[in-house]
């Protein structure tokens, strides 16, 4: 596909892929620093199904709160605004692109497993780097490949070509995307996230998770997700859409400053945390 068509193609995505209103409202409300837990709770409560799923996730082993959280308001004050917003976002986006039970060319179950593992790994890496709001890192990892699932949903035929090429040539999905579409899932994901008014950091991480230095001031965060992606593929957590491991970006590697021992420890931790978060899928 010619590069000139890109804009046109992507504007089509903007029209098609719209975030559910509740998720959108929650993002808008949490963007206002003066918003209260009650306002956010009110917005979420408008969707009963979402409410019960948020409570289920809030009560999961991943957060380890010693008592049962029974109301959204409680969940917000206990887990914090960022956690709740991320849970709403994760649940809503998962709903939009959930596996539909039928065998498909693009392995959606594997995709979400990979995304969840990446979220967990990003959180672990962020903690190791001393980043304070590690709950944000989870959503960066979880949504970094948003573009792939958008492409599979809205450009299904073109994307099928990409998958076929990956299998034929055993190449990276990103290289196949460039060859077939002329752009990659990172670019698509970035545009969609922008349209959804997601936080700027998240947009940058999605857009530059294959090229962290281009994320400028968010380079450190993009590097975390970049490395999390590679680590998850290395120990085969989920399915990234190809059977290859992308090249490690040297600057990202230097920035994270990991030695052999800490990588070994990280792999063990990753596997344990992934087991703990099984209750998350389906999100």
């Amino acid at each position: 596909m010619a590069r000139t068509n890109l804009k046109k193609q992507l504007s089509k995505i903007s029209d098609l892929a719209t975030l559910p209103v509740v998720a959108n409202n929650v993002i808008q409300i949490t963007n206002n620093p003066k918003s209260s837990a009650l306002e956010v709770a009110k917005a979420i409560s408008q969707d009963a199904a979402l409410t019960s799923r948020i409570l289920k996730m809030a009560n999961s082993a991943m957060y380890g709160f010693p008592q049962k959280i029974t109301t959204i308001n409680h969940a917000i004050v206990i887990l914090g605004f960022a956690n709740i917003r991320n849970l709403v976002l994760a649940a809503s986006i998962y709903d939009m692109f959930a596996p539909n039970g039928q065998p498909q060319l693009f392995d959606r179950v594997g995709f979400w497993e990979h995304s969840l593992a990446c979220g967990i790994t990003s959180k672990l890496l962020a903690k190791r780097l001393g980043i304070k709001n590690i709950e944000e890192a989870f959503i960066w990892g979880l949504l970094h490949d948003l573009g792939k699932i958008v492409l599979d949903t809205y450009f299904h035929t073109d994307f099928a070509g990409v998958i076929k090429l990956v299998e034929e040539k055993n190449i990276l999905i990103r290289d196949a995307e460039m060859e077939v579409l002329g752009y990659d899932h990172a670019e698509v994901g970035g545009i969609v996230a922008g349209n959804w008014n997601l936080p700027q950091t998240l947009i940058k991480v999605i857009r530059f998770h294959h090229a962290p230095p281009q994320a400028n001031e968010s380079m450190r965060l993009a590097a975390i997700v970049h490395m999390a992606d590679i680590f998850c593929r290395a120990i085969d957590l989920g399915n990234g859409g190809d059977r290859k491991i992308p090249c490690m970006h040297p600057e990202a590697w230097e920035l994270l400053d990991l030695d052999k021992e800490s990588i070994k420890a990280l792999f063990t931790e990753m596997e344990q945390e992934v087991i703990k978060s099984q209750a998350f899928l389906p999100i």
Binding site: N24, N25, I29, N32, S36, F65, T71, H74, V77, G80
Partner: protein, 539 residues
């Protein structure tokens, strides 16, 4: 139910924008407060500022601050703010919820499900390494305090307070270790001075200030050239120069003048202060007051003299005793009772030896009285010429080989003195003149009066005294070590007592001599001395 997207709501957007502006103002204000917070090193100051800031944000009714006690490994209540609240006291800080909140490090409510009047929440204080403590707060439940901005603000304030507390702890530790080092420096008996490479004093202990005669130790940062006196500067300059060349200097002794009328010998050693990488950063000087060690040396010598004295005295006492005994035995057993002449001769010898013994015992008694401070004068009008003549007469009776010449210049005035003791003075000095002129010779005594003083000069042409011995001649137990004098008896106390007697009389004694050419002793006594009442009484 239709859910409306609020981004289409112009009112919501306007509100959000205005709230964001408000937020920016608040953040810049917080930055100012945080600057204040982290620039403080006083514990109570930090705590009260922190509590004040939190109160401004969520208007709590009551708050209790707990900090981790590193020694006891538990949470310790350090401060309270606001009203007394039994609900706060009832909180079990070991409960799993509290532990979970501290682990998560986020401001969280403890009882969000309970519809009570107050809402209890915990704000963890998370430092760089660990959770340092937490603030337990109670606020009105109907106030909607759990807003996103409150959460952000409180987390910000808590993190700043944690940093400030961590800094304060480090500062306190630093302060403590500095005090400890200063304590060590002060407890060292020597003077310690350190200077930097620009010659500024960086450390000085009290001993050093005392030795240098500085009014206070508050001269840190001042070049030593500006504060030490000239002799000290000269010494330090020289030592510093050598230290810079060699890295250290061995101990050398110099005179220091802490006050104008006090000179103390000080031994100085020094070494270069170096950073671990070898860069020189200054010099440490160690100043040792040598007066103490000199005093020890003096006492040691005195002790030696005393031992020598005991053996001398024993010998001296035994000699006359054995002479007396053998002559008395001879009279009793060998001399015929009719040999009156020999008996008389022997008894004369016994008498002389008994005198010698008696003198020695008097000397010993006197010296012990002097040492005990119980040496008193029994004052009366004394005809000094008569005293001298009686001494000469006494000695003439004992020596046949010496000639005595007296020149008492006509009429000498009577003086107020202790007759017996003045007699002892002249007896001792003249006896010495006789003793140290072993081959016989002339002992001349002259006396004259001038300006209410009587001056007597006793001169002999005996063996004389060597120069180094003269300055010690009045020391207790001192005897000039000359081979010629080896067979001359004495306790070494005589002149010491003489000097003391004369000083008690406000008089003086002076000796001029050189080996081989005789000795001249000058005694000066005031006619009317200004005695204090203590000297007049004899107990």
């Amino acid at each position: 139910m239709k859910i409306t997207p609020i981004e289409k709501d112009a009112g919501f957007l306007r509100q959000t924008i205005s709230d964001l502006h408000e937020q920016i103002d608040l953040l810049s204000m917080l930055q100012d407060i945080s600057k204040q917070l982290i620039s403080r090193f006083d514990f109570n100051n930090i705590i009260s500022l922190f509590l004040g800031m939190v109160k401004e944000i969520i208007h709590y009714n009551a708050a209790a601050l707990y900090l981790h006690d590193e020694q006891k490994k538990c949470w310790r209540l350090v401060d309270r703010s606001g009203a007394d609240d039994p609900e706060l006291d009832a909180i079990d800080i070991q409960s799993s919820i509290v532990q979970w909140i501290l682990h998560e490090g986020r401001w969280s409510p403890l009882n969000p499900e309970h519809r009570t009047k107050n809402s209890i929440s915990i704000l963890p204080l998370t430092g760089a390494q660990k959770t340092m403590g937490f603030l337990l707060m109670s606020s009105h439940a109907d106030r909607d305090v759990f807003t996103q901005s409150n959460m952000k603000l409180l987390s910000f304030v808590a993190s700043q307070a944690s940093i400030a507390l961590e800094n304060q702890t480090l500062y306190a530790q630093l302060h403590q270790s500095r005090e400890y080092i200063e304590n060590i420096l002060e407890s060292i008996n020597n003077g310690i001075v350190t200077i930097d490479m620009e010659n500024r004093v960086t450390q000085i202990n009290k001993n050093a200030t005392a030795m240098l005669g500085l009014p206070s130790a508050d001269i840190m940062g001042t070049p030593y050239h500006d504060t030490f006196d000239a002799p000290a500067v000269a010494v330090i300059d020289a030592v510093r120069k050598r230290t810079l060349l060699d890295g250290f200097t061995p101990e050398t002794v110099h005179d220091f003048y802490p006050t104008t009328d006090l000179k103390i010998p000080v031994a100085i050693s020094s070494s270069l202060l170096r950073e671990p990488d070898g860069t020189s950063i200054g010099i440490t000087f160690v100043l040792r007051d040598m007066s103490a060690s000199k005093e020890i040396e003096r006492l040691r010598q005195l002790d030696e003299l005393k031992s020598e004295f005991v053996s001398n005295v024993s010998h001296e006492l035994r000699t006359p005793m054995s002479i007396i005994k053998s002559y008395v035995e001879a009279i009793l057993n060998q001399v015929s009772p009719s040999d009156y002449h020999t008996q008389r001769e022997f008894l004369h010898i016994v008498n002389n030896e008994a005198d010698r013994l008696s003198n020695m015992v008097s000397d010993l008694l006197d010296i012990s009285r002097i040492e005990a401070g119980k040496f008193y004068l029994d004052l009366e009008e004394v005809d000094i010429a008569a005293v001298i003549e009686s001494v000469v007469e006494h000695l003439q009776g004992k020596s046949t080989v010496h000639t005595f010449t007296t020149d008492l210049s006509g009429s000498l005035p009577n003086i107020t003195a202790d007759r017996d003791k003045i007699y002892r003075v002249f007896l001792n000095v003249l006896d010495n003149a006789v003793k140290f002129s072993p081959e016989g010779g002339v002992v001349s005594i002259s006396a004259s009066t001038r300006d209410d003083t009587v001056t007597c000069v006793i001169a002999d042409n005996g063996i004389g005294i060597a120069e180094p011995d003269i300055e010690h001649i009045f020391d207790k137990f001192y005897r000039a070590d000359t081979s010629d004098a080896g067979n001359i008896s004495g306790t070494g106390l005589g002149l010491s007592i003489v000097k003391h007697i004369l000083e008690e009389h406000k008089g003086s004694i002076d000796i001029a001599s050189s080996p081989g050419s005789g000795t001249s002793v000058t005694i000066i006594l005031p006619v009317f001395a200004d005695y204090d009442s203590g000297s007049r009484t004899d107990t």
